[in-house]
């Protein structure tokens, strides 16, 4: 091979690299490990982690993954392919993305879904930029204080650099303060408002009237939410949202210490050409068969370059497959039943906590599968006790406030055992 290339050594392949910047040393890296050693190395590291019975949420939920999901996503024809540019040999990927889009549109009852985005936080930031691009000469986006703080920091970071002015809508007793929203939405230059459902305290808010107020002021309503919850809860479209975004992790994706997850973005038909990210469409092939293809690409960075609606050039495809298979196997009834079980477990747990005499609800507001309670003792000491006994006992939200989440994976026995520790 060297002869055909016309060089005498591998080194000579780099003769065009100036000598002074060639790397001539040995990398300061560990020595190569055999497969067995690699496995043992990671097993040892894994032992340094502690697996806990999870009562925490705050955006990441311990839902069950049916066995069939893992089996499908490990199929290497899916796993080792790239973005489906060559439609003729990528129908597998294109087909499931079309199904994913269809399912997400069903779940949120919106018209359109894109092929997925990195995660819920960046999808929300993208929605913010989309609103600004769709609104003419508007540079302000309202965000409710009841939006998750981690999502908010990402949104604010994007806003800072993109030149978007973020104005916070105040919260009042755990929910968005409607009067403050109504006042701020009417101000000049507002492109949209971001709200969250269920909100950062787990409260299911009443957003009646929000979309109308936004639309009266030519602004868009963006609703961030936990995907799986919409199998039961009133949907973004039913609230009148123009853009629905959030994380799809709740659809059976493992917690995996924070990622990879999958951001979803759905919108009204009217906004389709403003939507960032990949979109798969149905068409025909030269033989007259139904076929799928990446479409509306003229919106995207590889064509529009700096004028694109976003710089995103991939989707979270494999994770989209993950939630597609999840929804396919759970089906219409299963996703709903999992949600209802989570609801029942969470409400049972709330009752049991209150019964101990040491807890009371932080808010007298409706919730789904996550809720805040006030503890009359030291939260840190209690949470440490939970961990020592194998439980991840909620997320600390304040000096005396803990937020617990319950999924269909939590049994009555587990809840009772946790309660006994109090």
């Amino acid at each position: 091979m060297l002869d055909i290339v016309g060089v005498g050594s591998l080194d000579e392949l780099y003769s065009d690299v100036p000598e002074e910047i060639r790397f001539k040393k040995e990398y300061d890296l560990p020595e190569a490990m055999s497969e067995m050693e690699v496995r043992r190395f990671f097993e040892a590291l894994g032992n340094e982690n502690k697996r806990l019975v999870c009562f925490a949420g705050a955006g990441v939920y311990d839902h069950y993954t049916p066995a069939v999901v893992g089996r499908i996503v490990q199929r290497s024809e899916f796993l080792t392919s790239y973005t489906p540019y060559q439609a003729e040999i990528s129908q597998g990927t294109l087909h499931y993305i079309f199904e994913y889009q269809s399912m997400m549109a069903e779940l949120t009852s919106m018209d359109i879904s894109n092929a997925s985005m990195y995660d819920g936080s960046t999808a929300t930031a993208e929605a913010m930029m989309m609103a600004v691009a769709a609104g003419k000469k508007c540079d302000t986006v309202l965000v409710s204080e009841t939006v998750d703080k981690k999502v908010l920091t990402v949104v604010k970071t994007y806003a800072k650099f993109h030149g978007v002015n973020i104005v916070m809508v105040k919260e009042n007793d755990g929910i968005t303060y409607k009067a403050d929203f109504q006042e701020k939405i009417a101000q000049k230059g507002v492109a949209g408002v971001i709200v969250q459902q269920p909100n950062r305290y787990g409260i299911v808010e009443d957003y009646a009237g929000y979309a109308d107020a936004a639309h009266d002021n030519k602004a868009l309503m963006i609703m961030n939410g936990v995907a799986a919850d919409y199998a039961v809860l009133k949907t973004p479209a039913e609230w009148g949202a123009d853009i629905a975004v959030g994380d799809g992790q709740s659809l059976g994706v493992p917690m995996m210490f924070g990622g990879p997850y999958v951001g979803y973005m759905c919108c009204t038909e009217k906004l389709i050409r403003k939507m960032p990210g990949r979109i798969v469409g149905m068409t025909e092939d030269s033989r007259g068969q139904r076929a799928f293809v990446l479409t509306l690409q003229a919106r995207e960075q590889h064509i529009r370059r700096q004028k694109a609606t976003s710089n995103i050039c991939s989707n979270q495809s494999l994770m989209a497959l993950f939630v597609t298979v999840y929804m396919a196997v759970m089906g219409k009834k299963g996703v709903k039943e999992a949600g209802e079980l989570s609801y029942a477990g969470a409400h049972y747990m709330m009752d049991k906590l209150v019964e101990t005499g040491h807890f009371k609800p932080t808010f007298q507001k409706p919730f789904f599968n996550e809720f805040c309670v006030e503890y009359d003792g030291d939260v840190d000491v209690l949470q440490k006790k939970f961990v020592d006994n194998g439980f991840l006992g909620g997320v600390k939200m304040g000096d005396h406030t803990i937020m617990f989440a319950v999924t269909e994976q939590r049994s009555k026995e587990e809840i009772d055992n946790l309660i006994k520790l109090i």
Binding site: K136, R273, Q297, A298, R299, I303, R304, K307
Partner: protein, 129 residues
């Protein structure tokens, strides 16, 4: 060879203006539609929107390309060509017959900055090489 029509005003960004009284019909030239290929979508402004000479007012998309529409003149949009919403391909069929927006011109002297048919034909000739 792309078609060029006498009597219209042309911009270097390949839009034309056909003037009728106080109004101008703005579209893309035959050369531009040919370069873009199959047009699948035209992003148009709303009526009553203001356009400014040299500023973008929309975009034309084909499958693998997108081109911003730059207004050659300033004025107020009084009509958009609604036929383009469902059948954008008519621009491919006849770019000059199928204008994109009708504008009430606010400054007719701006037309002096544009090319006539002969100058534009020459400009295209150069651009092709």
């Amino acid at each position: 060879m792309a078609k060029v029509i006498e009597g219209l005003y042309y911009a270097e960004s390949h839009e034309y203006v056909k003037v009728e009284g106080e109004f101008g019909y703005i579209g893309i030239t035959d050369y531009a539609q040919n370069a873009l290929g199959n047009i699948v979508y035209v992003d148009m402004p709303d009526t009553d929107d203001e356009v400014e000479a040299g500023e973008d007012f929309g975009a034309v998309e084909s499958v693998k390309a997108a081109s911003d529409l730059t207004s050659p003149v300033s004025g107020t949009v009084v009509e958009v060509n609604e036929a383009l919403e469902d059948t954008p391909e008519i621009i491919n069929q006849d770019a000059f017959a199928n204008w994109i927006i009708k504008v009430e011109l606010s400054d007719k002297t701006e037309l002096d900055n544009l090319m006539d048919a002969a100058a534009y034909a020459e400009f295209c000739e150069k651009e092709a090489h």
